[in-house]
């Protein structure tokens, strides 16, 4: 209905192969970016109370989870490799970042965030090796090995958390351009900007990879590995690359989760198998093999319960926080089943369908 594609013809392959070939989509995307990069911060400055709450409780974690979901989606959605270990890979990122920034306090934290991704990337490749021989559910189980082993390391290797009595990461204060971005004194706004920048940049990179040779070989492996081999695609390198990129994204997400969301510190428990399940359910509901789906999934799985909680409180109904939490878990499960039944390909597919309808409006097909 809002699409006006008439006259939007492509005279170059570059234009034809663009990720957003339709003008209206590009406009929408631009407005969206404007909203999150300018609108939200303005709002936060004008109404600090609600604004900071909104940033701290909604936006920052949402973006971080979305990033983790993208990571897992690259592995599970695009390459078809089931993983239950994403939580642990996030942990690797977090601990790596912690060690790095405590050993080299003067290096800008953002750099360490990215580098910590490299660490979890290496670990990911290590645990990806079995994927050559193991497929499907077997592989899923293999990734559990990673999950539990790494979790164990987080708890048992005190060096990782600098022998803190608490056994947890204690986030030190770090500044960027003289502005505190981590630690107790970092304002939500400052942290939000860092997170937004990183997530936006990495999403862009992910979409580039997916729309190019690498993305195609991933999907080829996913859809028909035999044929892929006969195209000259070597399975192990392709799969390992997927593992590497995926756990890189998870690692960065994990590091940001501790440094820019919790901002003060985190227990190893954060990176338990439940976290893995949480992220996995995001990409299931959001849509396997879809970037935008990762955002949808993160939004639904993470934000929806908060909204419900808010409603519950606001309605003044005598519901304990625990009960809400339990309901949240149940609801998440119910949603997963519901979406699998109505649309096995998740919100992303629904989004696509809706878009298609708008494009051919007023016609039904």
């Amino acid at each position: 209905m809002f699409y006006r594609e008439t006259g939007q013809y492509k005279t170059t392959y570059a234009a034809d192969m663009a990720v957003f070939p339709i003008l209206q989509d590009r406009i929408a995307l631009g407005l969206m970016l404007l909203a999150v990069a300018v609108g939200v911060p303005l709002f936060a400055m004008l109404f600090p109370a609600t604004g900071n709450y909104f940033l701290q409780v909604i936006m920052i974690p949402f973006l971080i989870f979305a990033l983790a979901a993208i990571g897992l989606n690259i592995l599970t959605g695009y390459t078809g490799l089931m993983s239950l270990g994403s939580g642990a890979f996030m942990g690797v990122g977090a601990f790596a970042c912690y060690k790095l920034t405590t050993i080299f306090p003067d290096v800008p934290i953002v750099i360490w965030v990215v580098v910590s991704g490299v660490f979890s990337c290496l670990v990911g490749v290590l645990f990806g090796l079995p994927s050559l021989r193991i497929k499907g559910f077997y592989l899923a189980v293999a990734t559990l090995a990673a999950q539990f082993f790494l979790q164990w390391c987080f708890v048992r290797i005190p060096w990782l958390f600098n022998y803190n009595a608490s056994g947890a990461i204690e986030v030190p204060e770090r500044t960027l351009f003289g502005l505190a971005v981590t630690g107790a004194n970092a304002t939500p706004l400052a942290r939000y900007f860092v997170v937004l920048a990183v997530v936006a940049g990495m999403t862009w990179v992910a979409s580039n990879l997916i729309h190019g040779r690498i993305g195609r070989s991933w999907m080829a492996v996913r859809d028909m590995d035999i044929a892929a081999q006969l195209m000259g695609i070597q399975l192990l390198p392709a799969k390992l690359l997927a593992f590497a990129v995926s756990s890189f994204y998870c690692g960065v997400a994990g590091a940001m989760m501790v440094f820019f969301w919790y901002a003060t510190g985190a227990e190893p428990e954060v990176f338990s198998i439940r976290q893995s399940f949480f992220v996995l359910s995001m990409i299931i509901i959001g849509g396997l093999g879809s970037l935008v789906g990762s955002f949808f999934g993160a939004a639904l799985i993470y934000i929806m319960p908060i909204v419900l909680g808010a409603i519950a409180n606001w309605s003044g109904a005598p519901i304990s926080a625990a009960t809400i939490e339990h309901l949240r878990v149940m609801l998440t499960g119910a949603l997963i089943i519901f979406f699998l039944i109505v649309e096995p390909h998740g919100l992303a597919r629904l989004w696509q369908i809706a878009k298609q309808k708008l494009r051919i409006w007023p016609f039904p097909y």
Binding site: R213, D223, M224, Q229, L230
Partner: protein, 266 residues
Amino acid sequence: MTHHRSDDIAPGDILLAVENVSLAFGGVKAITEVSFDIRKGEIRAIIGPNGAGKTSMLNVINGFYNPNEGRITFAGRTRPRMKPYEAASQGIARTFQNVALFKGMSTLDNIMAGRTLKMRRNFFWQALRHGPALDEEIEHRKFCEEIIDFLEIEHIRKTPVGKLPYGLQKRVELGRALAMEPTLLLLDEPMAGMNLEEKEDMSRFVIDVNNHYGTTIALIEHDIGVVMDLSDRIVVLEYGRKIADGTPAEVKSDQKVIDAYLGVAH
């Protein structure tokens, strides 16, 4: 379309030689001491009743199975073991009996996937998808567009292949194989389950590919009529053994073949 060939084999010379190859799964013998050759530029058919080991033969040729005995010489190189992707990089492409397309991808992406081996840009450039990476992408897109035009599938360029009718899927699969600029193209029942018109189209494409690109083609096909029209020479297998080998005329008149195959209604 310009074609760059590395191997220096003249048309008519032997491109691929299969020498008493045997293959067995556990105890079951799929192929027994089969020998034949494929000459550069010809259309070679492999026929035989169901379970004669035709598909297994193709799988051996492109390295999906490794023969228990015998040797295979391709483009002058004799190889002991070979991985499928190595076969691909040496210029052997192939289509499948039951279409093996990448269901989640569009026609164009499927064909582009066939260019993977030819794409060189590293991870860094891929991540940016600008400059060299994009140039490369475009250069190969052009190549694929030639194939799309050649196979007359412009209208389904951006359609997910999963949604396509069977006949078109077969065509896309052929396109994907052509995108590899193969020296040797293996077609496993390219016309299986097609109606007459689709068969005629497909035969035309096979011949055009052979003329236009000078691609050597080895095909398995059940429709005897088609095989006789298309191919220069025919190998006949039965129960994993070769029972005849020669021009369509020779094969047609071969008593063993008549008993084993033509005699039987298909």
